[in-house]
């Protein structure tokens, strides 16, 4: 019998770490990974709450899982497009450092 708040705190921690990653890392790919980390944190809350509500006999508690799937789909799409963008950027700028990619045009 684990308190729900543990899960939520865990996801909060992960989320904050993800934001830190976003704020502090310089490599575009790593920043992307931080975003994925945040998404995962959110997924954790979804799943935890799904379980929690099914405990409390809520219908459609499983929709939490479904939302997780949707988040995954979005993450996959984002990863595909984002990595393609990264490759394109790298081709033109020869760098992955976001601080060097702060102009819209070369």
């Amino acid at each position: 019998m684990v308190p729900l708040s543990w899960y939520l705190i865990l996801s909060a921690i992960l989320f904050c770490l993800g934001v830190f990653g976003f704020l502090l890392k310089r490599n575009i790919i790593t920043i992307f990974m931080s975003i994925e980390l945040m998404l995962n944190a959110v997924n954790l809350t979804f799943v935890a709450f799904a379980n929690y509500w099914s405990e409390h006999g809520l219908k459609l508690a499983l929709s939490g899982h479904v939302f997780v799937f949707f988040v995954m789909v979005v993450a996959a799409a984002e990863a595909a497009v984002g990595l393609a963008i990264i490759i394109a950027v790298f081709r033109t700028r020869e760098t992955l450092n976001v601080d060097r990619v702060n102009l819209l045009k070369l």
């Binding site: 684990v2 708040s5 543990w6 992960l14 704020l23 990974m33 929709s63 899982h65 799409a77 393609a84």
Partner: protein
């Protein structure tokens, strides 16, 4: 009891992986630590009785998305990230902001943990494939279709972006 122990173990692994993601300079290490986070998250999902989600988490996230990341890192042969003058705003505003954010949320959670109550490992028919499939293909059919369209568009976009303009 077992539940708590397992949760603590995997939660700690998660946090450790996430922290490692931050401290590592080389993207591939970050990627691997993220994979670690995801794997242990999958196990936590199992604790929450969401075995299907757990499996999908491993297959899709760890197995596909992260492989894609690693693949790109290898392709671009990205080295350790070099130091560059970051943005002061990020340091002066973002970091404290995030800390405050985390502290506040944590405070709320601890504050309300007693009212919230807890979760236990459900009977296995909770998160099993049949129910999820029923939900996904009946109640959420339209969103499902829309997400598939989204994926399709993303694929096209990736192809277009990835093609070498010449």
């Amino acid at each position: 009891m077992v539940h708590e122990i397992l949760f603590i173990i995997f939660g700690l692994i998660c946090v450790a992986g996430a922290v490692n993601l931050l401290v590592q300079r080389h993207p591939i290490h970050s990627a691997l630590s993220l994979v670690l986070v995801m794997a242990s998250l999958a196990l936590i999902y199992l604790l929450l009785g969401a075995e299907f989600v757990a499996a999908i988490q491993v297959i899709v996230y760890a197995g596909a998305i992260m492989v894609l990341f690693v693949f790109v890192i290898m392709l671009l042969n990205a080295g350790a990230e070099e130091h560059s003058p970051g943005s002061k705003i990020a340091l002066l505003m973002g970091v404290p902001g995030v800390i405050v954010f985390g502290c506040l949320v944590g405070w709320i959670m601890i504050h309300t943990s007693t009212q919230l109550g807890g979760v236990r490992i459900n009977p296995s028919d909770f998160g099993d494939t049949h129910n999820i499939a029923r939900l996904l293909f009946r109640d959420f059919l339209l969103p499902f279709e829309i997400t598939s369209v989204l994926i399709l568009i993303a694929i096209m976009g990736a192809v277009v972006l990835g093609r070498r303009q010449n």
